[in-house]
Every structure is written in C-alpha cells, then in structure tokens.
Symmetry: C2
Subunit: 441 residues, 2 copies
C-alpha cells in the first residue's frame, strides 16, 4: 500500500540539498519510492496532508543511555556527578525491569521528537533491544562493559559474556544492529579494550565508547602513558572505522589526525558537554579534517532532553561563539549534522539520513502552525533557532507511521509511563531526592 505526504516543504538533505517548496513524497512498504513538486503528484493510495509543514529526514541521535530515564532531574547541579552520584545510584537501583521500562519511555520521547535512529549504550542492553523492537525504531545498541562492578555485572569482566550473547541474539534484526560498548578509555583497561575490539571484528559489529570526555581521563593517560586517550586507543589497535567515539571534547592536533586517518566517527554531545562544564569540542577542526561527526543527546540524566532540536540550538550558539563568527555553521549545516552526517557516523547512510528514492522511509513532518514557527522564510533557520520537540507532528520509521498529530500511533504513552512509575517505586525518596546515595564531598 502506497502512502504519500503531500503539500509539504521538503528538505531532502541529499548531496545537492534539493528542496521542494510545495512537494510530495511517496512511500511503499519501507521505502521512499518517489518525491517531487506537487505539480507532478499523481494520487495513488493513502494521502497525508502536510499542511505546509517541513518534511525532513528522521533525525539521528548518535549517543545516548536510554535506560537512565528514571533518574532524570536528579542531582543535575552537583560536582563530579558521575562518580559521586550516578554510579552509586545505578549500582543500587538499576535492574532489568527499570531498563526496559525506562528505555521504552525514552524511546517514546525520541519518536515524538522526530528521532528515528538512535545509538544507545548501557547495561542490560537486551532489555533496551526489546524496547526498541517494541517501538519499531532504528537502533544500534551496545551492551556496556567495564572493568568495574556494574549493575548488571557484579564480577568485572563478566559483561563480555553478556555482550557476546546479546550480539548473537540480535545480529540479524531488520532495524536493530547490536554492537559492543566498552564504557570508556579510563574505565576499561588495555586488555578489556582489546577484547571488545576482537568481539567487534568477530561479529562485524560497531564499537562505541566514551572518549576524551573527562578531565581526569586526560590526566590519567598523560601521567600513565604520556599519551592522549586517542593516541592510546591507536597504540593498542582499537582505533578504526568501526569505532563511534562519543564526546571527543579534548583533542590535540595529533588526535584529530589520528581520527581522520583511522576513519573514526564522532558523536558530539554539545548539551551534555556544556551542562557539565566540560568543554566545546572543536567540530570545525574535525569537519575540516574530513572526520565524520554527528550529534548526540547523551542520556536523559546528562542532556535531559532527548531531542535533536535542542541540540541544534545549543550547537549553533556554542560553535558560533567558540569560533567568534556568527556566520559559521549556518543552519542548513546544523540540520545536516543531525540527519545525513549522523547517518554517516553510524555507517547507515545508505539506508537513512536523507530523503531519496530507494532509501528507507525514515522521515519527520514538523508543523509550522504553532506560534513559534512563523515566519519560516528559511526552513533550516526555523528548525535550528525556533523549533522545539513539541513541533514534531508526524514520524515514520521504515515506512511505518509511529507518530501522527503529535501522538504515538499504536502505543499508549500513559500506560507506558504507568508501567515505568511502578518500576520506579523501589527507588527510595531519601536516596534519590535528598541524595543520601552521594559519595564523598
């Protein structure tokens, strides 16, 4: 059955940045089969009125931790939060049920915000995979392994066993790509990182981890190896195009050269990196070097919102200021980072990231009826500087309509939330709100 979205302002984000001021796009099964000006539209199958909204590729979130949703709005403004608050909180409360229900809720939020592809790394990732399968989102999902006692692995190292099982189980799914996710360069030792790399090679799956994010991580590598984390990863043979490196805030010229040489993809998380006062990655230098860079929200406790539109605005303002140039990164380049460039980072650009015939029908209609979306002379400016997640009207993933008129289709947000609330009842008020789980001062 064919479906066509008509009377929309289409920004394809293809290589020529083709636009149709009043256009249509036709889907058959999971693919885009036709698009163009309304003048050439011939009715066939179902039509969906676009009401002059902006029709764009589904947005691509290259880094998050969906399962952490139940901890959102806790301890946002405390120092050294990861070690002092989040690790202890996770170790005490995180469990399979909470990951599944938290991830499912977080995925509702992403879909409602126009995210159609997500890369996630967390514990109990098989639960996240179940949630992603339930919600019919496109995803790359990695079980997190670390040389630490974690919530799903009380014996350090045993996580690799779970991770391999997880990869085998999800290897041939249509929308889900399993991957392996060492936690970070400083929470995984050399042996552990090499073991993850080996798994990535054996199963031909991506590898993702936090890289060059923490000041103490940089300090550690300098003192222990006289290298940067990226130089170290290269030294031990873990730097190549299968790697999606999250953050990369602190980069030397040599780091950039290595990322380029080894064709690493970078997940840039501007909201999370600045809320935590870490820094602004030099995206201009990375792009100038030809490195693939996409945008990520980071987890709901780090970036808080799970939509790319928030990241667009933050990216624009932080990068313009950093480069002392209001003309750098014009709006259309920022939209590209959140769509086609993100797809390239995930090596999914053959399937998604732009609206082109033959590609998967992953697409988003952003309405322009709401008060904040007028005038929209420039649709990219409207998306970057004006839009918020609440403007997303309709979302398709692989040809299936998952959001229509700002509501989930075939899923009930209220009951998904109620399930999550029930799973959260085990969390004690004194630990979470009053912060008695805090470690140190």
């Amino acid at each position: 059955m064919k479906k066509s979205i008509i009377n929309a302002r289409i920004i394809t984000m293809d290589e020529k940045m083709t636009e149709y001021k009043k256009g249509f796009l036709t889907i058959e099964d999971d693919k885009i089969i036709k698009l163009g000006d309304m003048g050439s539209f011939q009715e066939e199958g179902e039509t969906i009125e676009g009401k002059n909204g902006i029709l764009m590729p589904g947005m691509i979130n290259t880094h998050t931790h969906l399962g952490m949703l139940p901890f959102r709005s806790l301890g946002d403004d405390v120092k050294d939060r990861l070690r002092r608050f989040l690790f202890p909180l996770e170790n005490k409360y995180m469990n399979e049920k909470l990951v599944y229900r938290g991830a499912r809720y977080a995925l509702c939020e992403m879909l409602l915000a126009g995210v159609t592809t997500v890369l996630d790394m967390y514990y109990f990732e098989k639960e996240t995979a179940k949630a992603a399968d339930d919600m019919h989102i496109r995803a790359i999902l990695g079980e997190t392994v670390a040389d630490l006692k974690t919530c799903d692995c009380r014996e350090p190292g045993k996580g690799f066993f779970y991770a391999e099982e997880f990869i085998k189980e999800w290897k041939n799914h249509k929308l889900i790509t399993p991957c392996i996710a060492p936690h970070a360069t400083n929470t995984n030792g050399e042996e552990s990182l090499k073991r993850a790399k080996k798994i990535s090679e054996t199963y031909q799956v991506p590898i993702t981890m936090h890289v060059a994010e923490m000041d103490y991580e940089m300090q550690y590598f300098k003192e222990a190896y006289s290298m940067s984390p990226i130089e170290f990863l290269n030294f031990i043979g873990c730097l190549d195009t299968s790697l999606i490196a999250a953050h990369c805030i602190y980069l030397s010229e040599n780091d950039i050269a290595l990322l380029k040489k080894q064709k690493v993809g970078v997940a840039h998380c501007i909201g999370s990196n600045t809320k935590s006062a870490k820094g602004v990655a030099d995206v201009k230098a990375m792009l100038d070097a030809g490195i693939r860079v996409g945008l990520g929200t980071d987890g709901p406790t780090s970036g808080n919102t799970l939509d790319l539109l928030t990241q667009f605005k933050l990216f624009a303002n932080f990068q313009k200021l950093k480069n002392q140039d209001r003309s750098i990164f014009p709006a259309h380049e920022i939209v590209a980072l959140g769509t086609i460039q993100g797809a390239k980072v995930l090596h999914l650009d053959k399937q998604t990231g732009s609206l082109e015939v033959g590609k998967q029908a992953d697409l988003v209609l952003v309405e322009t009826d709401s008060v904040n979306m007028f005038p929209a002379f420039n649709p990219y400016s409207a998306l970057v500087y004006s839009a918020n997640a609440g403007n997303v009207d309709t979302v398709f993933v692989a040809g299936r309509c998952l959001v229509r008129h700002k509501e989930l289709v075939g899923a009930d947000l209220k009951s998904i939330r109620n399930d999550l609330v029930e799973a959260m009842e085990e969390m004690s008020e004194s630990d979470i709100v009053n912060g008695s789980v805090f470690v140190g001062a």
Copy 2:
C-alpha cells in the same frame, strides 16, 4: 469572583523559596489572596485542576523588540547582520501596521510561553502599546530614539517628540509603563543620551538601551574617550537606577563597580549574545557585586524564540561552562532570574515575580503530562533542563486567564497571524529571502 488553581506543585519564588508539593492558589480580581497546601484548601468560586503541573510566577522578559517579528528566520547566519541587513530592512519596510501586527503576534507567542511581563523597545512603540493593551500583558514599553534616520523618524532627533507624546499618552495605564529607549551608546551621542535622561526624569519613567554589546562600540569608546560605554554613561550623568541596560557583555571591573554603585538593572540576553558570537556576560560577577540581573530573549530576529525556558537552558550551559563549574547556578537560581530577579530589574517586584498573597496574579501552570516532563523529581531542573515553551498550559496576567490548555483565551491566533501575513505582503521576496537588501560585503 474567586478562582483557585488546585492540585499543583507550587514554586512560589518568594524570599524563602516556599514550595507546596500539592498546593492551591486563590485569585480574587487581579490579586493572589491565598495559597498553601491542599489540606487547607476550602472550595469557593471556580476551581481549575492543576493536574500536578508546576505552578510558578509568570516569567519576565527584560529585553525584546516585538515589532521585528516579521523578519524572523531571515539572514540569521550573516556577518555584521545589524548594520548590513537589519537596519536596511527596517528602513525599507517597517511601518506602523507591521509593528502593530507583528507585536500582537509576538505577544501571543510570549503569553503562550508563560511570559507575563515584557520590556520592549522599538520604533512606532505606540503601536506596540496598542498591541500590549489588546493582549492584556504587563509591559514596559519604550519608543526608540537614535541619531540615525530610522523607519519611524526620517529626521534624526525628531524621535524625541514621538517619545514624549508616547509617554504622556500611556503614563497612567494599569499594566503598561511607558519608558524612553535610546537605541544604544554608539547610536546616540552625548546630547541625545542626556535628552533621554531628562525625559526619564521629567516623567519619572524608566530608561532602557543597548549597552556594551558590540565590539565596534567598545572600540569606539576606547578610541574617542578612553572610556568604556558604561564609564561614559556615568560621566555624562546617565547611569542610575532608572536605567535598564541590555546586554552588558563586555564589562571591566570598574564597569561592574559603577553598575553596582548607580544601582543599574541589567537585562542579560544569553541566546542573542551567543548566536551572534559576541560573548557571555559575567553574570556571576554582577550578582556577586549585588547588581540586579534578569533574562531577556532579545527580538525575534536575534534570539528567534520569545520564551524564557529556552533562555534558562542556554543560560545554564553557557554559565556553567564559562565558570568551569557544573554546580554553579543550580536550576532554582536560574528560575529566579527569569521571575523575581527580572521583576527587580524592572522595579516591578512589588507587583509581580513571585507567588505571594497581595501580589498581582501573574502566574503560569506548566504541565508535566508531556513526555519530556517526566520524571520531575526536582521541578526547577525540569523547568530549566527539560521544559520547552510547548509545555506551558495555563497563564494568568493580573488575574485574567489568557492561556488555557495551551490555547489563547479570548484571542484567535489564526486570525492574528492572517492579519500579519497580509501586512507582510509588501515585503519583496528578492529583498528578504535572496537578501538583495544587504549592504556591503
């Protein structure tokens, strides 16, 4: 007739930061007459179900240019935009009708986003005053005067005549306070600035202008006077508590001391200042010195969104990064800047800015049903890091309900937009979209 909002999570933003986890607030005529825990609520008059939303003071926007709404999304990413694009565009197209209809539309956007008090400065300000009166928003409005040919004053200097007439006409309005608004330190000479100050004194009205915003402004004062703009304003007797200084990005220690000594209020516009790559004002130093600071969106062409929630998030991330401290400006302090501190900047804190018995009923209910607003363990975190303008459910100004369930009450957004679209038809496509109005290279 009394009205009560019940079952809301109330953050009063009063001096003790009083909160009610499940509270009520009762309005009679234009005032708050009672608030407290639901346990002490006695039904009387109309009740409005708060559905566990966050009830907060109406937000206060200390700097904008409402009439510029028709130019939104144009030329966002071009260098030296004000002089090369906006001034020529204004001179060619801006007129009374466009200001009235643009301001009316922009005010709809602010109300729908929970802004209940706004300070505006622009040309044809009497039109903006009519629009503000129509919309029943609380406002301080200043006719802009400059030593330039402007859209409402073809002979430089004549604007003072309009400005004085404007002040006389609106002096005793219940919600509207007229003021005088020299454009900036570098677009008004000494004589012009002193004349504005005189008008402010004669009519006992505030004075507002752009201060220490432009790199070329700083350069000019250094070369011409060996002073900063703030030192110059002090030198000519224009620095006192009647001044609301917008931006103040570039401040020396002496500037901060002068602002403190002369009790100047500052409108900090983080979104506009960073999108234009200008800088991040040192708000910590200003607050440490005891200077009153509020938040502003700047005009819809500068900051693009007209809501304070966007500013909250940008403020948090930029200030945390600037100060290299994720714990600085915890969320509740940011909400204070957008409410009670903003009221103090405008000398309106006796009337508005916090929820207290006897104050004007300017209030906002932010719903927590939308997907992005859960969990909201900490209501301030939810407002700063998660909320967007689309979460604002209900808004009262001076006891009158202007927004209910995210729709305007007693005003029709569609017809207000249609009126604006009609007034915009005079703008030529080649000038505005293709930018043929641009000056220089």
